[in-house]
Symmetry: C2
Subunit: 168 residues, 2 copies
DNA sequence: CTTGGAATGTCAACAAAGCTGACGTATTGT
DNA sequence: ACAATACGTCAGCTTTGTTGACATTCCAAG
């Protein structure tokens, strides 16, 4: 099993050897560090962390989303998210309005100030992503997305696809 | 700028629109969660966390590595790593031996017990990676790795390439 | 209509794992 | 001899995750 790929005759399965797979694992590790490095640097100067970035990103992504919805997407506990949301609301970056249909729900929106922070953070991250895309080329990007999509949990793929297909 | 790609005439740059890039960002986020989910589940049952996994992985990867070397690869502070290393050594998963050439250095190795844990953790992660690879196919995997490599910081790419080119 | 359970969100207290800064020891090399 | 390096450790802080208790709101069964 440890040499599964190498015992295959064709080259088509060579990318499934333990060694190849391990390289992929380390590539994920190192790349994710680069992926978060730029926004992290910016957040450090302000009083926020990576969790704030995630919240702001997905509120920007799906304006009017509820706390529960965000909870499912982010995969954290209520309090973790709540602490972050509380500071964002207190600082006037996010607005929380009681639901009209269901008053238990709170609908979340970015304020102008929140949208400005979102742009600042995402621009840094997008720039790196964009330059990586440019270097690797369109076909590599397609493969990149295919593999990532196959790596997600079922539920998360659902969120991802649902978001991907949005047209508004 | 927000519609940069769409204002380009050719299709060759269409994958660089903000929307496309944002999809890539979310793909990274969701995929990384899947990527760490399986080992995290195992670690939860034992008394360890993700930090222990990383240490064990890279010690397995580069047996005899020094503390300093590990520090550079993992990108954390001495104290953070030391806390993890201390428990791993106390629990008999990692051995630390004084350097022969330079007695200031400590060379780290996995014990049999440590190697067993490494296998258990990595098997889960490798399985997911392998199945993602299989689903996406060799060309997608090549693209996947290209983009990830382009996304790393310079220093990390160095570590990655150095590791990639090892032949022992 | 009432009432009890389910769903949504808030708060308090705590744990894991990162960080900075300071300090001590052994070893190396100039 | 002395400065620099490699490692370990103490104290204290921040971010971000957890569990458990609680208030409010909705809905459906009696």
């Amino acid at each position: 099993m440890s040499q599964g790929g190498q015992s295959q005759s064709g080259q088509s399965l060579l990318f499934l050897t333990d060694e190849q797979v391990r390289k992929g694992i380390e590539a994920m590790f190192f790349a994710y560090r680069g992926f978060t490095a730029d926004p992290d640097r910016i957040l450090q100067t302000k009083a926020y962390g990576r969790a704030h970035h995630r919240a702001v990103h997905f509120i920007h992504r799906s304006p009017g989303t509820t706390v529960n919805n965000l909870l499912n997407i982010l995969g954290v506990t209520k309090q973790s998210l709540n602490r972050v949301l509380r500071t964002l609301i207190a600082d006037g970056l996010v607005s929380s309005t009681v639901g009209r249909a269901d008053k238990r729900e709170r609908h979340l929106h970015l304020t102008d100030v929140g949208a400005a922070l979102e742009r600042e953070l995402s621009d840094a991250q997008r720039d790196r992503m964009r330059s990586a895309y440019r270097r690797a080329g369109p076909e590599a990007v397609a493969g990149f997305r295919e593999v990532l999509e196959a790596m997600m949990d079922e539920d998360m793929r659902h969120h991802y696809v649902a978001i991907k297909d949005r047209t508004d």
